[in-house]
């Protein structure tokens, strides 16, 4: 065991920390800050801050320098995740593009796609959305009804996607379209890169139970997509999708731990405020969340080690998803539980605004659903890790 980073990595941490200290105003650290802005304003602020971050050399940490990345190590990426959370940096606006699309384009994109997509994405000149789910399909990504019909050099696309993050601020969307009429499930799909600024594409916000709108719906009505804007082979969209999803597997647990651990402390602070911190039963519940949080931290170090050793994580990422999502949900379940009747009041006292906490607690209900529900992840662990029969 050696849980330290290299000197070069620590040097990177110092530089990043410096830059973050200078670029993040103190008010961004307040729990309610981002909720206090309207959606467009919040997005604009984040977009600009992140473009500046790219200019300062702190984006695309592990990307090759030829793509404008930093060419860093997995350790640097883990440090990046940790330090940005610690500094209260805002959520990445291009998260799905950066996580999924960019590495896929690097791997199988045409030269034109590489040059047209990656740089502008990194500089936030183009915001990418992901369109993976369709209404009612949930975690079943092969249930694609959106269809594309060839018309000269274009496909004409009709259909609907749902649970699209940043749908209202997206410029382009990558999405699976059924291009072989009559095909079923994983066959006959193509991965398309679709310009959202055209008459045939309409995005609508999807309001969540918390009142916020992190997600949206995207409707395609005779949207036109040039054939050259397919990523990977036409008809082989499922293979592209699987490659794309494989890039989810990384060392993000370090950042998640840092974030959730801070949330733990914030909940503890509220327990103290409302006289609950001496209750032995409430203490057990919180401490059990801490057990799982610390395990997430160790797991992140384990995964980082695997990545550094060049091992394929494969189905292990399903364990990571289960651990972080269930732990996060349990933590906010504990918030509701240990604060008693105060938990559901927006302002239990005139000087206390619990709405940011309540929004987090409600958001926590979604994390076991999206990105492959806990039920789907358990199937994967049982079948692919433990080898139980289908």
């Amino acid at each position: 065991m050696d849980l330290t980073y290299t000197a070069e990595e620590e040097q990177f941490r110092a530089e990043l920390r410096d830059w973050l200290a200078g670029s993040i105003p103190p008010e961004w650290a307040e729990p309610g800050f981002w909720r206090s802005l309207d959606d467009d304003e919040s997005f604009r602020l984040r977009r600009e801050w992140e473009a500046a971050k790219t200019a300062a050399g702190f984006s695309g940490i592990q990307w090759p320098t030829e793509y404008g990345g930093r060419g860093g190590t997995p350790g640097m990426k883990a440090i990046y995740d940790e330090e940005t959370v610690r500094a209260h940096a805002p959520q990445t606006v291009n998260v799905l593009g950066l996580t999924f699309l960019a590495p896929t384009v690097m791997a199988i994109g045409t030269p034109e796609q590489k040059s047209e997509i990656i740089g502008p994405m990194l500089r936030n000149e183009v915001i990418w959305c992901q369109g993976f789910s369709e209404p009612g399909a949930g975690s079943d990504l092969a249930a694609v009804s959106t269809r594309g019909v060839r018309d000269g050099d274009d496909f004409v696309v009709n259909g609907q996607k749902i649970w699209t993050t940043n749908a209202m601020h997206g410029d382009k969307i990558f999405t699976l379209v059924r291009t072989e009429p009559g095909s079923e499930r994983h066959k006959g799909l193509s991965m398309m890169l679709i310009d959202m600024h055209q008459p045939g594409v309409e995005a609508r916000p999807l309001k969540q139970m918390s009142g916020a709108s992190e997600f949206g719906e995207v409707f395609f009505t005779d949207a036109r997509v040039p054939v050259k804007d397919c990523l990977g082979e036409i008809g082989q969209g499922w293979r592209t999708a699987m490659l794309l999803l494989s890039f989810e597997r990384g060392a993000s647990g370090v950042g998640q731990y840092t974030e959730f651990r801070r949330q733990y402390d914030e909940i503890v602070e509220q327990m103290r405020r409302f006289g609950r911190s001496d209750d032995p039963v409430a203490r057990q519940k919180m401490a059990n969340c801490l057990v799982e949080l610390e395990c997430l931290r160790y797991h992140a170090m384990h995964i980082l080690t695997q990545v550094e050793q060049g091992r394929d994580l494969g189905a292990e990422s399903s364990m990571t998803k289960l651990q972080w999502s269930e732990t996060f949900q349990d933590l906010w379940e504990a918030f509701d539980d240990v604060l008693g009747p105060e938990a559901s009041l927006e302002r239990p006292r005139p000087d206390v605004d619990l709405t940011p906490y309540q929004a987090q607690a409600m958001w926590s209900r979604s994390v076991t659903i999206w990105g492959g529900s806990s039920q789907v992840q358990r199937n994967i662990v049982a079948e692919r890790v433990l080898g139980l029969p289908r």
Binding site: G136, R185, F274, E333, S344, M362, Q375
Partner: protein
Amino acid sequence: MFFALTEDQQAFAATVREFVADRFDLDAVRAVVEDPDGDGHPMTLWKGLADQGALAVLVPEEHDGLGLGLLDAQVVARELGAAVAPGPWTTTVLAAEALRLAGSPAQQAAWLPALAAGETVGTVALRGEAGSWDGRSGRGITVDASGERLSGTASPVDYPAVAGLFVVAATDADGAPGLYLVEAGAEGLSVRDQRTYDGTARVGAVELADTPGELLTGGTLSGGEAVGAVTARGAVLTAADLVGVAREALTRTVDYDRDRKQFGAPVGSFQAIKHTMADLHVGVTMAEHAVLFAAHALDTDDPGADIAVAVAKAKASDAAWAATGAMIQFFGGIGFTWEHEAHFFYKRARRRAPLFGSADEHRERLAALTID
């Protein structure tokens, strides 16, 4: 042995259920939820409940009530929970119960007919901010040496803004607890809106500053016994509401997953989901039994009533919490949207679960009753 509702009680339940379904469906609920600045007290619903005797159910006949028991009242609570219906029904009934149990004939005559008819909205203020329901950690409100002036803060209080009558638990100068009547508009009374995420209710803190209050006295119960009896009835009616929420959440989830397809099969055919639903069904059924028993135990002064109330509230709180969480999970993404009704159930369950004592508090009460 007859452990069930009578035909009359079942008919009463059906009447309330049909009325609410006809006249106050989920669209009507949504209108209340989406108007958080409104009073959350729709008159169509209130008048209909009054017409059906739902407000008079526990009031003695000599005060224009129906003179029935808590077993009859819980029927209404359950239907209102299942319909996630807004309004001050529970608190009005509890205020009337306080008068019935602890009030003098004069106090009863002054208030019960109006409460039974729905002309006056009542509410109860039993807990100090961040305090415990049994007063162990002190009450929020104290009475001065005159015995007639109250000061302090109680929270959460349901529907304080529309209440005409407050029944307040307070500690007098000798440290003795008791229930006091405070009228809306009384000197020094103010209501601070605390706003809850449960849009099917309106909640505030009641702040009293040297406010005139009248001790409930001359009835069957007094002092701490009276406070305890009203809290117990609040626990049972809240448990009934939560059971209604839980059952309806489960039924809707089962109905949806019976048909919804994923990976080429109905979601409800996946065994992991089936087993979750089966466990929830057992849990909700047990909570239903427990609420019936607790209501009956209070109606009959059963010596095991203390245990029964704690069991019912603990079980119903847990069942509602579990069933509404599962509702969101097993509706998939759609259950997480504002447009879907799942969050009405979820938020109502979360808010009400700790009222009149959380599951943990009631379990500790059971430990005190059986271990100490």
